[in-house]
Amino acid sequence: MGSVFLHLHPKRVTEASVQFNRTFGLGGMAALLIVIQIITGVLLRFYYAPYPAEAYNSILFLKNQVLFGQFIRNIHYWSGVFLLMIAFLHFIRVFFTGAYRDIRNINWLLGLVLLILVVLLNFTGYLLPWDQLAYWAITVSTNIIGYLPFAGETLRTMIIGGKELNASTLQSFYAFHTAVFPLLLLLIVTYHFWRVRKAGGILTQHTSEEPVMIPVVPNLVFKEVIVALVLVAALFTFAVFFNAPLLEKANPTFSMNPTKAPWYFAGVQELLIHFNPLFAAFIIPFGVLSFLALIPFLQYQELPNGIWFISEKGQHSAKSTAKFSAVLTIICIVLNQYILKFEILLSPLPAFVSNGIVPLLILFLLLTVFYRFYLKPIKLNKEELVQAAFVFILTAFIILTLTGIFFRGKDMELTFPWNI
């Protein structure tokens, strides 16, 4: 076992690449969490019954009758949450150190696919307990698919296997959650790691001196073991003190108020309140994903230097873009909620124009102004410009997500967190 583990590493690595603050050990943590997910997931399968009539009761049985049942379920739940967060942080780290370019471009794409897979795993797992939370969150999210033009309704019926959530939805989500997605994840993760090695290890800052090579044992492995132990300790603490949520059994005739999407979709749900579904759930997310996928292929002049935020100028422009984006997003949310209701103001127009094209155009206009009067005068190079765009999207996404989680109460109206 030990030697298998060691084979993931080369014999010697550069001294700079084992610095903790180079990577924060995020990729390694994600790998460990995947292992924990698989172990606890397999354990859960011994008790779980994937049928609407029995699923909920099997979870109750697990909670109340099985020794450590609740604990194993909690670990599975929290390691899923941790995995998504850590994968996300890893993605941000890789972007801001520029470790996506040249030979690493394919790995950036693989990383994006992995991130999406982790979201899908979380999402399919969400339905399995068949409680109120699961039932309505999945109902709302799958209904969004129905708004796709032309094939939307057919696609939705295909995914959930009927007009409403039913036994075959549960069964296929179960198959995806416990077989299809985990297998894909394992295959791609392995390749992902292999490509890091092929690219010559972790991207470090360029120096003129010959890098100092040090043996992996004990230098790197020692640090990895510490990170792993701390992570496992944190996870267990969470699992002891915070139970994975479980509400009443799913009741198709009664919706909770409010019905919120799972937290990683809270941003998209917030967008749905402001934009026509076609824009909120397809055009905008698809645009963002295509931008992310294109990032490594934009032909940069300079070589990647492995410096956080590229340069001094990069740092400054990133900071002010983040501020601009945060303020703009908050203003837009509040304005649209209370004053500028495009659907009503422009009511003769079809909904996807009044509440899709129009607000999007206004946003683009504001962005152009920001570019023209701030970004352009300070003369950024292409890399720094791409970074500014990334920062803008990232900040807006975080603000939207936080709003959805903490500032939406009864009837999905805006409130303060202490009133929820």
Binding site: T139, T157, G161, G162, K163, F254, S255, I273, D411
Partner: protein, 176 residues
């Protein structure tokens, strides 16, 4: 000057016009073709396998629910039938309509609010009138409904056939 001359003198490299297929190339192509064919077949089999078994939502007409006698419902009243997943709504003029529970925005279950005289969706606060018409966005379509049949004063609702509509029309009502 000299350079240009050199260029002119350079002999043209003759590339063989005919690409000769040797045996190895030939077999390689055949294998690739066969592999592709096999992949397609597999994909076909998988899709057929996965989608033919899905329980299709074939409307089952004749799933009738007896809701009761027409005179037992007051005009301008709403009675929930949770087992059949509909509200039986009697309009002011005495007409009946069986409204689906599903909000037309994203499918949450609506609730009848007696005091406000409207259906309210808890998810994104769409509101609907007693005849199913939209009173408040984000929903943009009137509530779906099930056909109502009244024979000898007895109300029956066909919950096998869901009817979709954009807005309310008078002929969607049934009278005793």
């Amino acid at each position: 000057m000299k350079k240009t001359q050199d260029k002119r003198v350079q002999p043209k490299v003759k590339s063989s016009p005919l690409k000769v297929f040797n045996r190895r190339d030939f077999f390689n192509t055949v294998w690739k073709g066969l592999g592709l064919l096999a992949a397609f077949e597999m994909a076909g089999i998988f899709t057929a396998y996965l989608f033919s078994g899905k329980r299709k939502s074939i409307p089952e007409p004749g799933q009738l629910i007896e809701a009761g006698l027409a005179e037992s419902f007051a005009p301008n009243s709403v009675t929930p039938f949770m087992g059949g997943r509909f509200y039986l709504a009697r309009q002011k003029d005495g007409g009946f309509i069986a409204l689906s529970l599903r909000c037309t925005h994203l499918g949450c279950s609506i609730a009848w609010e007696e005091k406000q005289n409207r259906f309210i969706c808890p998810c994104h606060s769409s509101a609907f009138a007693i005849n199913g018409e939209v009173l408040n966005p984000p929903a943009s379509r009137a509530l779906d409904f099930y056909p109502v049949m009244i024979d000898n004063g007895l109300i029956k609702v066909d919950i096998g056939t869901l009817k979709e509509r954009n807005s309310f029309r008078k002929d969607q009502l049934q009278y005793a």
